[in-house]
């Protein structure tokens, strides 16, 4: 860079920007989008952890606090002021909102991660099987995933959840995962088909490698960028689906989640009574979560695809 500055003494703004961009080019992982996204998600996890240590979680039970108190510094319609005992206010059945989100926010994230993990694992196994075994197996898997893609997941899930009644978080993740494996399956199958003919896989076959070695040691590492991106996108989908179900009043009945809090707020007429903190705070947290995930996805895209971080 030194010779650049000597040739023209004062750098133009464009040149300085170019220089800054090139520094970033040096280490792809120092991607600002990625870092921001990770920080936002860690914030949610941190809220859950610190909250459990520092806050009284018994306040999530009905009637443990006065009703409909506003956050500190605000007044509700009854002219009651917010108090520090319940800094984010309370809901219509006397539950502390801070305790609710300390419990609920990590739960929503957890459902998303777990569902995505199960979906991806299924997708990896089916995708590799289809791509590698081929023939009849491939046909079955391909047709199955194509058919599943055309079915609207929310419709089926509403029926399922309504039939089950109260479900656990893990059960809900499993149900959602049933609609997340199709696109990774297709993606991996396509990649495996093209990688099968690549030079290094032929080289590995020449080296007497077993099928499982070729699958997991030669092919899978090269799929990592795709898998990461797909994983994060699936987490987002899973959370959207989970929250959607919860806002409809389905999903876990006894475990606080962000979606359930919003459902209760809507049900109790919080919008009319101007109890904005009741539905507003969970919504903001969900927004933070989605923005964080989006940032990570964009960041990972740039890390794994150098063409997107072109210098100009």
């Amino acid at each position: 860079m030194a010779d650049n500055t000597t040739s023209s003494a004062p750098m133009t703004r464009a040149e300085r920007r170019l220089q800054k961009r090139m520094k970033r080019f040096d280490n792809p992982w120092m991607n600002p989008k990625l870092i921001w996204g990770v920080c936002l998600l860690l914030g949610i996890v941190g809220l859950g952890l610190l909250g459990r240590l520092l806050w009284n979680l018994d306040l999530v039970f009905t009637g443990s606090a006065p009703l409909k108190l506003p956050p500190v510094g605000f007044e509700n319609l009854r002219r009651q002021e917010g108090v520090w005992d319940y800094p984010l206010g309370t809901d219509g059945s006397g539950r502390d909102l801070l305790a609710l989100i300390v419990m609920g926010a990590p739960n929503s994230l957890w459902v998303g991660l777990l569902a995505s993990l199960i979906g991806m694992s299924t997708g990896i196994i089916l995708g590799f099987t289809a791509g590698f075994v081929g023939g009849r197996t491939d046909d079955v898997i391909r047709v199955l995933s194509d058919v599943m893609i055309t079915i609207p997941p929310l419709l089926i899930l509403v029926v399922f959840q309504a039939a089950y009644g109260d479900v656990s978080l893990a059960m809900m993740s499993l149900l959602i995962a049933g609609f997340l494996w199709q696109s990774p399956t297709r993606l991996i199958r396509a990649q495996v088909l093209s990688m099968r003919e690549s030079g290094y896989v032929q080289m590995a076959r020449l080296s007497g490698a077993s099928t499982s070695h070729i699958m997991f040691r030669e092919m899978l590492p090269n799929l990592v960028p795709y898998l990461f991106g797909s994983f994060i996108a699936n987490v987002t989908t899973a959370i959207v689906t989970a929250v959607g179900l919860e806002v409809l009043g389905l999903g876990p009945q006894r475990i606080p989640t962000l979606g359930r809090t919003i459902y209760e707020a809507i049900n109790a007429g919080a919008l009319i009574q101007n109890l904005w903190w009741w539905w507003g705070i969970p919504t903001v947290l969900l927004a933070v979560m989605f923005i964080g995930l989006l940032m990570i996805n964009l960041g990972l895209d740039e890390v794994s695809n150098p063409r997107l971080r072109r210098l100009s």
């Binding site: 040096d26 007497g208 090269n222 100009s312």
Partner: protein, 579 residues
């Protein structure tokens, strides 16, 4: 026509800013091109030849830029670097046209060829009458020797050579003052290459424009251009008339480039060992045997029935020569057991390759190894390169300890002329194509197989390195007693390395025998055509005869003339047709 140069490069430097500092791609290059003159830019990949050509059209890839110097174009002496975007757009194609390297990818697959040509005219001359457009595109196609009906076809309906000629037609439709052809024939086989080069030079002579031909093949340059500019690391090391440079090269790099082109007949670049080592073969069965093997893909017969047996008692190199589509790579994959024959059997030491037990299969894999065409694809980008050497060594149970593996890898690297300390711990993308291909040879050496299938091992490597790598491969036979099947389209190298040559044409054996007979004095018309088409760095040889078409036509008619057998050698028997 005036004597004013059509292109003047004055002291041009081109640089690319990168995170680790500025890379000077081209340094202080000065050159002129006169009208009607063909100038060749020759150099290895990365020598700045394409970069220079692109700068003439302001098409340098960002963030590259011309840091000093000026470029004057045409009789009007336009300063190209001062043109704005719109003026430059009008200049491209109408005054400087560019014929790209991969014609296959340069045409829009969803548009008819003539519509793409009309686009070019309309973009420069505004709305034009449809009849006029049709007339212009037909004329342009005719000028490159294609019938006007080709214009109504889509790119996928054309062969590689035809597509390249369509690209030339597109380049000359606006009669530019300068044509830049960037390795226009690198993806074509020798016969088509000659045809395309003929077309290009004819068209250029007709228009009377300047031509810059970019390439790395000294033979091709000698046969087709008037002046040569030799580039090395962005510096113009030698410039002059082609005859002067070929016959009396001054710079050592130029000499190296000229000597790297193997000649049929000429002096061998190999030095055979005095005493060849014995083969590692055990048992009485032939090392590799084809028994009435044929291969059919759908309606296409890739390989007609043939039988041969390679005894392998003494190590030998058998060359299989042919154009793309001749079935030579099919033979390679049959031998490796990646594909199974439609009829007949492939036998390895008397055992059918398609029916091996797991332990036999491991033994087969250990003893039959391969070097593939594309050194860029052969390494898993996820691992350091030593993975490709270490893994099979352990897999075949050759490794006694970690230190033993390390030692074996280092020895193999030394044997192919690589420094293990610099190479082994790197990632594939950090190595050049030549280094990677040598590592693959080192891998084969480490495993010491009985048979090596070398499928076009040097066709994707820079010309100056080809001889070295072939030498490495030859050493495998000469010093380590490995029999080799050398699959190639390059008759000149086959002439030097092999003990026996098989020329394939459309899945049939055209001619077979010892190289001195088959290549030195070909009897089959197809072999003759192939040999005529090889460009040599010899100014006195007439390369551009138009005989190619007739011979090809004659060959296409029926099944072609019968196979010509030109003698036998010990340890290798061959016959065609079903037994």
């Amino acid at each position: 026509m005036t004597d004013k140069p059509i292109l003047t490069l004055k002291d041009v430097s081109i640089e690319f800013p990168t995170p680790s500092g500025i890379v000077q791609a081209v340094k202080n290059l000065s050159l002129t091109v006169n009208p009607g003159i063909k100038v060749g830019f020759i150099g290895e990949s990365g020598s700045g030849k394409t970069t220079t050509a692109l700068s003439i059209m302001q098409m340098l890839e960002s963030p590259g830029r011309v840091s000093t110097g000026e470029i004057l174009l045409g009789e009007a002496q336009t300063k190209v670097l001062d043109l704005n975007e719109e003026e430059m757009r009008k200049t491209r194609l109408s005054r400087v046209s560019y014929i790209p390297q991969g014609a296959m990818n340069s045409l829009n697959p969803v548009m008819r060829v003539q519509n793409q040509m009309w686009d070019a005219v309309v973009a420069h001359e505004g709305k034009t009458d449809l009849n006029e457009l049709q007339r212009r595109s037909d004329a342009a196609l005719e000028s490159v020797g294609l019938p006007a009906r080709v214009g109504r076809l889509y790119p996928h309906e054309l062969s590689g050579g035809m597509k390249q000629r369509v690209c030339i037609a597109l380049g000359v439709i606006l009669t530019p003052e300068l044509i830049i052809a960037d390795e226009p024939t690198s993806a074509l086989d020798v016969v088509t290459q000659r045809h395309v080069m003929q077309t290009l030079t004819e068209v250029q002579a007709k228009i009377g424009c300047g031509l810059i031909l970019i390439g790395h093949d000294m033979g091709l340059m000698a046969q087709s251009v008037d002046q040569l500019a030799v580039l090395k690391d962005g510096v113009l090391v030698e410039h002059g008339s082609t005859r002067q440079i070929i016959e009396n090269p001054q710079h050592p790099y130029t000499k190296e480039l000229i000597s790297s082109v193997p000649l049929v007949g000429g002096e061998s670049f190999l030095s055979p060992a005095v005493s060849a080592p014995a083969s590692q073969k055990e048992g009485p069965d032939a090392l590799l045997e084809f028994r009435d093997v044929s291969k059919v893909y759908g309606d296409v017969t890739a390989l007609h029935a043939m039988s041969f047996a390679l005894q392998g008692d003494t190590p030998q190199i058998i060359s299989i020569v042919g154009q793309s589509g001749s079935g030579k790579s099919t033979m390679g994959s049959l031998m490796l057991g990646f594909n199974h024959p439609s009829t007949g059997q492939v036998l390895y030491e008397g055992k059918d390759v398609a029916r091996l037990s797991p332990s036999q299969s491991l033994d087969f894999r250990k003893n039959v190894q391969a070097v593939f065409q594309d050194p860029y694809a052969c390494f898993n980008p996820f691992y350091r390169v030593d993975h490709a050497l270490k893994f099979p060594f352990k897999q075949f149970g050759l490794s006694k300890s970690e230190a033993h593996t390390q030692q074996a890898m280092e020895d193999a690297c030394h044997a192919v002329g690589l420094d293990p300390d610099l190479i082994l711990r790197r990632y594939p993308h950090q190595l050049s194509g030549g280094q990677r291909q040598r590592l693959i040879v080192a891998r084969a050496l480490m495993l010491s197989p009985k048979l090596l299938i070398a499928d076009e091992p040097v066709s994707m490597v820079d010309a100056s390195l080809r001889a070295t790598i072939l030498k490495n491969i030859y050493d495998l036979k000469d010093k380590h007693g490995i029999s080799i099947l050398y699959i190639t389209h390059d008759l000149a190298t086959a002439y030097h390395v092999s003990d026996y040559v098989i020329v394939l044409y459309h899945g049939r054996i055209a001619e077979a025998g010892p190289p001195k007979e088959v290549i030195g004095d070909p009897k089959h018309p197809y072999t003759q055509l192939l040999i005529d088409s090889i460009p040599w760095p010899d100014m006195n040889r007439a390369w551009g005869t138009a005989r190619g078409d007739e011979v090809e036509h004659m060959l296409e008619g029926s099944d072609g003339p019968a196979t010509v057998f030109r003698g036998e050698i010990e340890g290798f028997g061959l016959k065609t047709g079903a037994a």
